[in-house]
């Protein structure tokens, strides 16, 4: 696959009710804000929120699905900017902003169903 500047791709993921529990088990992140809705309400989050690194994993999947080979992903970064709640739908759109010396730079827009950016400054680098 030839990667060219301006190319776009996308993906989306629905956050089912039990996703933070599965992610907690797999990752070890059992912080109560992720697995206990009452605790989440108590600290003003409106319920349990998804682990930010799970949202980043969704964004990463969109990139590796597009690249076709997980080993091509060389760099990934983000800022966690808004909480992700259960039943949210996370949409990821990637745009190739530059291709140089075998590396494609990709900017990602990661939003919930209301268009709120749940991750910001999301950048990836992929072997071109």
């Amino acid at each position: 696959m030839a990667i060219e500047k301006g190319q776009t791709f996308n993906g989306s993921e629905k956050v089912d009710k039990y996703r933070p529990i599965y992610y907690a088990g797999a990752s070890g992140d059992f912080n109560p804000i992720h697995i206990d809705p009452e605790f989440g309400k108590m600290v003003g989050l409106g319920g349990a929120i998804l682990q930010g690194l799970c949202t980043l994993a969704f964004a990463s999947k969109t990139v590796t699905d597009w690249a076709g080979d997980p080993g091509k992903l060389k760099r990934l970064k983000c800022r966690f900017s808004a909480p992700v709640l259960m039943e949210d739908t996370i949409s990821v759109q990637g745009t190739v902003t530059d291709v140089q010396s075998g590396r494609a730079r990709v900017e990602l827009r990661v939003v919930n169903q209301q268009g709120v950016e749940v991750l910001q400054k999301v950048e990836a680098e992929v072997e071109a």
Partner: protein, 145 residues
């Protein structure tokens, strides 16, 4: 109570994590990633990697073994009730395969005291059993005051 900047440069003892094939599958399913590189033994055996590989972000699973001691560091004394994960950066080198033994170390690389919050960044470096880099991560946490 501000985080003392004297902890910049502090390192934490390394930890060697054995990457289990079933753990990779469990993680892949948890992030709803059904790529056969992670889940299909036959596909993986025939792939260029010759084995089940871990999703790139699996690096945070072994990375967590070095973040936990930072969170539990009584000298550093982070206020966990006020801490949120602010930013994450991951740089990937050699792909992680099932059966690898990944050794990870960590170092506090910056502490910034601001008016209403402190920001602390931890660099986490992981190498495989061949001594080759697999991932370098920077975890940035924000602690509200």
């Amino acid at each position: 109570m501000a985080i003392d900047t004297k902890f910049i440069g502090k390192t934490y003892p390394s930890y060697t994590y054995e990457v289990g094939r079933e753990k990779i599958k469990e993680y892949a399913k948890a992030i709803k990633n059904f790529d056969p590189h992670y889940l299909d033994d036959d596909f993986a055996a025939k792939s260029k990697y010759g084995a089940i590989i871990a999703p790139p972000t699996f690096a945070v699973v072994f990375g967590a073994y070095l973040i936990e001691p930072v969170f539990n560091d009584r000298d550093l004394n982070l206020n966990m009730a006020m801490l949120v994960h602010g930013e994450q950066e991951l740089e990937f080198f050699e792909v992680v395969k099932a059966g690898d033994a990944v050794t990870t170390g960590a170092k506090i690389i910056s502490i910034q005291n601001k008016e209403k919050l402190d920001v602390i960044a931890v660099e986490v470096q992981s190498r495989n059993q061949h001594g080759r880099d697999v991932c370098r991560g920077i975890y940035t946490f924000v602690v509200r005051k």
